[in-house]
Amino acid sequence: MLYREAGQFKSTYAADQQIFPILQDRVAIIALLAVAFIVVPLIGDQYWLSAILTPLLVLALAALGLNILTGYAGQLSLGTAAFMAVGAFMAYNAMLRIPHMPILGAFIIGGLCAAAVGVVFGLPSLRIKGLYLAVATLACQFFVLWAINRVGWFSNYSSSGVITAQRMEIFGYPIEHARDKYLLTLLIVALMALAAKNLMRSETGRAFMAIRDMDVAASVIGIPMMKTKLLAFAISSFYCGVAGALYAYCYLGTVEPEAFTLDLSFRVLFMIIIGGVGSILGSFLGAAFITLFPIFLNLASKWLESALGIEMSHAVVSNSEAIIFGSLIIFFLIVEPNGLARLWQIAKEKLRLWPFPH
């Protein structure tokens, strides 16, 4: 009833091609952005801002990066965490070694270095596909962490291989408080999500999808295989690299290479599988599910304990959280193999007809 497009006429091509052609969607997204930019910083306490929302946004950006590569261009990658590590450590080195480096410039340098690494490790994609490519990117994961661990230059010869993020400042305004870090992250993530959405609607994005759906057909209709695949690797790694830099600078503050293990790569991969492969929204939904759900389970078990007045052994609680989380992932994938984004799309289609489905 509320969600109906009857009466909304489009009289220009621009109106027809905008990202949210339906008025209700535009209102909803503006409201969401307003809440994220204005209401959340005002009412959110430090716990929410720095421990929940900031990592959520950062991981959503990493998932977005992987989604460009895997979801849109169809190249399976297990090197996400490695690209994030490159972004984090190169942003640190840019800040350290280049005098008067602005922090945003350092993030971009981190992203560009990650893109370069991505292109190098994307080369095998010209010859191999699917799971075999995943194995090749797995090599990237191990190689990058090995290099960061072994080559002292990356961590400025820190004995433990740990880097500590420098102080951040934008136009003389220090970014220290959790609120500022959240806003900086949110701004970068929002802009990059917008860019990704538009990119995917452009010729490049369509070329990605053509390669994903059938690469022989794509090359027959004249899409340059090498350029497009490597571009997909570069853009995806750039996103992951910026996410890694944000992870170090806006979230953890101090990072050891161990923060970017294969574990994290898999987590990001799960995010896009659960959120929705080949969907911008899915990256955000997936990241929310994977990061928030374990914390929610952890809190819920505490409420349950106090509500029921029983005392459970903490080891049992911790282990059962992992079990519940795992079974929910399986449940979701059985119910909707195309991810949460698809569920959302179905809900929208139903809403359009509601309350008169026929």
Binding site: D45, Q46, Y47, S50, A51, I52, P55, N149, S159, S160, G161, V162, T164, Q166, R167, Y251, L252, G253, T254, V255, E256, E258, A259, T261, P294, I295, N298, S313, H314, A315, V317, S318, N319, E321, A322
Partner: protein
Amino acid sequence: MKRNLAAAAAALSLFAGTVAAQNEQFIPANFYWVGPYAPGGSGFGGGMIDYYQMINERDGGVNGVKLTWEKCETEYNNARGVECYERTKKHPPTGATVIHPLSTGITYSLIDKATADRIPIISMGYGRTSAADGRVFPYVFPLITTYWSQATVMVKFMGEKMGGMDKWKGKKLVLVYHDSAYGKEPIPVLTDMAKQYGYELTTIAVPHPGNEQQAQWLQIRQIKPDWVILWGWGVMNPTALKAAAKVGYPREKMVGVWWSGAEEDVLPAGSAAKGFFSAGFNAPGTEFPVMKDVLKYVYAKGKGEFEDKARIGSIYHTRGVVAGIVTVEAIRLAQAKFGKGKPITGEQMRWGIENLNIDEKRLKELGATGLMPPLKVSCLDHEGSGLVKFQQWDGAKWKVVTDWMQPDRKLVREKVEADAAQYAKEKNISPRDCGKDGM
């Protein structure tokens, strides 16, 4: 109207009364009960909580202030550790008094945050070694002993076994380490000592979690080292011992870090572990009066943390008890200065830890003689002791084989100060002035 006001005032004062009666001191218990490192996390955490429970049951808290805690699962993962810290730091009624991250990685992630929030970190036997320089790290306390102290004592111990430090010349030493910030901590000190004593050092990394070490041990068989230092953690330890047995490397020539020297680290390796040495800053057993009190006041009432009674008095358990002792003593000291019988803040707790002085006399009063070394912290020195003992696994239990051994204080302190100064420079911190006497 007037009567209403009076009633309201009475109600208010009553409310204030209940708040005051709620005399509690909150301490977060952010440990880990799942994953490859769960034996360490649950053991250490269990010991610490058991001790708090014992203080509550036996003494009714610290001067009447009850200790409270809440568990949070960190999974030994930096991100989860930070989340737990943020969740517990404002926990009523006092906020986090002090935090034991029980992970070198999490400690690193929390140094800046906790310093800004004025919550002291006790990283007892782990964490950033250079935090021992209290001028640069006012809120971080790597108490009792640090990795660098331990590395120097290990080299000394092995030297003594060979019959003197001069015997090191031309010998080969291999460090097998957990490939993380934790595992890399000793490398600079061992490298420096290699120059000093003339041994040849090879470092071999084992990737997390360490349940696959065939290649590393084949490499060790080729090198044929005189000694191997095992800098392991969790499942990596028994795997290393089994792999050593497979390639025929004598376990009597292996010395483990204190996170390799608990029952959980050797029991899964079975007979392969026999003869293995390890360092330690706490002794196992239930013979200490304080452990008897834990049994009497906590386990006899069914309030203990362990369901498996065999773990009571294990290395990790008593190490947790030591952490509890240190924490409670600092609270006691801070109360003595800032108000007896009243909850303290993180800042006051910082003062308490910095002025800790647990001497032999106090250890006897606590019933912990021999359980832990004496400890004296100061503004300059946030380590406080540096003493290490060695123990050997005889196939059934850990047998302490040395007395408390002194680290090479000069070497360690020089490196600590250099590293802390570099950190201060990177972060634009001007070190505190500790005064002439270093207090």
